[in-house]
């Protein structure tokens, strides 16, 4: 019997909104019992059945075979001697030897062998058959292998398995960035990595705060787990005492650990006197006690601490470049740099793109800030002095890496081209003064060798797909560790060509740095003169001063390069002239210097074109404000020619 209920609706009424209404229950179908079927009813035996609402578990047992270990000693004896002769006894051995020599056979053999041997020895002396012909030519070609690097180890922060065992949390553990790496000062086999999540207000509830110390022999399980009260943003080994580490926390506190005492910090600084923002830089100082360190954070303060007494900082400095010591004006520090050879000076890289050089021993707080270097558009993520030339330092920020000299404050002396992705960290090589490393936010590690190639990195490696957050070179200069955003630390070994000092490298690098500094100095002085001229002109004078600087031989060279661009420049001038109107009718002094040199010098070429990095525009501020009309475009070209 089929039970069917038919429901009809007019097609025009399709799609109409329903309006429901209550109605009493109505019996649609009623199926009465059929007694004729009762006869074929079979009674089922009652059966006991149980139900339990619980997950199925099973028990397993595993027992490995026991390995029996036993300590045993081995006694080495000089072998070969017949049993009755004790090798220690000189007399016995001599007697034995004499006996052997008396043997007739022995004499014959020796005579025969002797003649053969003599023949070969004479052969050797006569001519060296394995002599290296053309031996001198080999030394000319040193770089035959292309620079390369290979991954030796990948330490990924443990998968959920380990964390579930430890903390019994949800298996989806959030991945944290490896924000800072520090190599163990002596052995270089241990690496301390600080993990934290630097995303703004992304603190997931069950993110663990731990940071790990890894032993390279065992990349699966960390050697020591450091448990701070808040995630660590920076972590450093004490170079004097390799058991002590200091870490800067996400909440601004400083903590220090002793690896002999376990994973909990020995002491933590009090919250009221610590930083108010994550501590981005923490470095140990050179001191007799070896217990002093200092830290910097984006709240604009640099604090000095003695780790024996972390309850309050020993000294503090507010990074206010107006030199008033106001916290409101302070710039947030993102990176800190300290060179042990210059213990009173240090440098801070800020979020605003300015690098501040400070002197700790200045008498008054405003004088502590000695100079500022601005040039980056974004925060300066890394700051490093060249280990061979302390006056030269490298800054990494926004999309470029720049090399500065302490003497030229207006701009960097060398810079890389603008990359497609953010540069996150950088450091110099400890063995070669011309090599430095940078990491990018597309997961690439670049190795730059500016004696070899200045436009591009000499080696570019894609390490992983996520952005790389930190970089640290081991002291021997051959192994570099990079930490990524998802917590994976990759160790790479770079080819020996990039980590052995080349011939003449130091002299070439010195020459290059000097050249660049000189160029910048000349540009600076030229700028100043331009500005002075501007001021003189704006007082109503219409004299056109044309100065000819003394030209160094280098300027002649750079000038010949620039002449090529004069045509382009003249065209631009004409166009701007057509657009803007003349207000003052004076000759503006646009100090537009264009350094465009694209040719990289051949390796070992030495002197020649200056930096081959990309275009840099020095637009004088006052000049840009005025109209760009030049009555004598030619004169401007000449001015440019004179400028170095």
């Amino acid at each position: 019997m089929e039970i069917v209920y038919v429901y009809t609706r007019k097609r025009s009424e399709f799609g109409r909104p329903c309006s429901f209404s209550d109605r009493p229950a109505k019996v649609n179908v009623d199926i009465p019992p059929d007694p004729s079927m009762a006869g074929s009813f079979v009674l089922r035996n009652p059966v006991d059945s149980y139900v339990q609402h619980a997950s199925d578990m099973s028990e397993h047992e595993v027992n490995t075979e026991r390995v029996e270990v036993e300590s045993r000693g081995v006694n080495h004896v000089e072998g070969g001697w017949p049993k009755d002769i004790n090798p220690q006894e000189v007399e016995q051995t001599i007697r034995f030897r004499k006996k052997v020599e008396k043997d007739e056979n022995y004499v014959n053999t020796i005579v025969h062998l002797g003649t053969l041997m003599e023949h070969c020895v004479k052969q050797n002396n006569a001519i060296n058959i394995y002599e290296e012909y053309f031996g001198e030519e080999e030394t000319a070609e040193v770089e035959d292998e292309p620079p390369s690097a290979k991954t030796i180890n990948v330490i990924s922060k443990l998968t959920s398995f380990f964390d579930v065992l430890l903390s019994k949390r949800d298996p989806n553990v959030t991945k944290r960035t490896a924000t800072h790496l520090s190599w163990h000062p002596d052995t270089c086999k241990k690496l301390a990595v600080a993990y934290s999540s630097l995303e703004f207000q992304q603190n997931v509830k069950d993110m663990s705060f731990d940071s790990y110390i890894w032993d390279l022999e065992n990349p699966n399980k960390p050697e020591l787990v450091l448990k701070p009260s808040s995630p660590l943003v920076s972590l450093e080994y004490n170079p004097k005492d390799s058991h002590v580490l200091v870490g800067g926390c996400y909440n601004g506190q400083m903590a220090y650990w002793d690896t002999r005492k376990g994973g909990l910090p020995v002491e933590v600084s009090t919250v009221e006197v610590s930083h108010r923002d994550p501590v981005y830089g923490a470095i140990w100082l050179q001191s007799k006690t070896g217990t002093e360190c200092f830290s910097a954070s984006t709240d604009g303060q640099v604090l000095w601490w003695d780790i024996r007494k972390l309850s309050e900082p020993t000294e503090s400095l507010v990074l206010d470049i107006t030199r008033k010591g106001l916290l409101e004006n302070a710039l947030g520090a993102v990176t800190l740099e300290f060179e042990p050879t210059m213990p009173t000076k240090f440098m801070v890289g800020t979020e605003q793109g300015i690098v501040i050089a400070c002197n700790r021993k200045a008498k008054t707080p405003p004088e502590k800030i000695t100079s500022t270097y601005s040039g980056h558009i974004g925060p300066v993520y890394a700051l490093a002095r060249n280990p061979f030339y302390p006056k030269i330092f490298l800054t990494v920020g926004d999309w470029t890496a720049r090399i500065w000299s302490e003497e030229t404050k207006e701009s960097s002396i060398m810079w890389t081209k603008y990359h497609l992705s953010y540069l996150t960290d950088g450091c110099w090589s400890t063995v070669r003064p011309a090599v430095f490393f940078t990491t990018r936010s597309d997961g690439t590690l670049d190795v730059w060798d500016f004696l070899f190639k200045q436009n591009d990195p000499s080696l570019s490696l894609k390490v992983c797909n996520e952005p790389l957050a930190s970089l640290r070179l081991q002291d021997n200069g051959c192994v570099v560790g990079c930490g990524s955003k998802l917590g994976t630390v990759t160790l790479l070994e770079i080819s020996s060509a990039l980590c052995t000092l080349q011939r003449n490298e130091k002299t070439l690098v010195t020459a290059m740095f000097e050249r660049e500094t000189k160029r910048e100095k000349i540009l600076e002085s030229r700028h100043r003169e331009m500005r002075l001229k501007e001021r003189a002109r704006s007082e109503g004078q219409e004299t056109v001063v044309e100065e000819r600087l003394v030209e160094n031989p280098e300027e002649v060279l750079s000038r010949t390069r620039r002449e090529f661009f004069e045509v382009i420049e003249a065209e631009l001038q004409r166009r701007t002239r057509a657009e803007t109107q003349c207000l003052h009718g004076k000759v503006p002094g646009t100090a537009r210097t264009r350094d465009r040199g694209r040719d990289s010098p051949p390796w070992g070429g030495g002197q020649g074109s200056a930096s081959a990095f990309q275009v840099k525009d020095h637009a004088g501020d006052e000049a840009a404000a005025q109209g760009e009309e030049s009555q004598l475009p030619k004169e401007e070209e000449e001015e440019e020619k004179d400028v170095a």
């Binding site: 000089e78 072998g79 070969g80 001697w81 017949p82 034995f96 030897r97 052997v100 020599e101 043997d103 056979n105 022995y106 004499v107 053999t109 020796i110 005579v111 025969h112 062998l113 002797g114 003649t115 053969l116 041997m117 003599e118 070969c120 020895v121 004479k122 050797n124 002396n125 060296n128 394995y130 002599e131 290296e132």
Partner: protein
């Protein structure tokens, strides 16, 4: 006596640093080096010579090892295997 003469002659050649005579069991019979070095050389080179000889013999049973030269960056070691004794000379590299 003849033995002495021969050994002395070899030792007198230009560039020869040391000479050693080792018997079949690896015991140095005669040497111009000090004892510990000799023992070290004897032990190591004896085994190497045996291995080399057996290799040559394995490839061609009629063949036999006549001379073994080990040239390294600093020295050259020349070994002549005999029936009951082997003689080793260590020579300085002539560049």
């Amino acid at each position: 006596a003849e033995v002495e003469e021969i050994l002395k002659r070899i030792q007198a050649h230009r560039g020869v640093i040391a000479t050693m005579v080792i018997n079949a069991e690896g015991i140095p019979i005669r040497t111009t080096l000090d004892n510990s070095t000799t023992v070290q050389y004897a032990g190591l080179l004896h085994q190497l010579t045996m291995k080399a000889r057996s290799t040559v013999r394995d490839i061609d049973p009629q063949n036999d090892l006549t001379f073994l030269r080990i040239r390294s960056k600093k020295h050259e070691i020349m070994i002549i295997p005999g029936n009951i004794s082997i003689k080793i000379t260590i020579e300085l590299y002539v560049l």
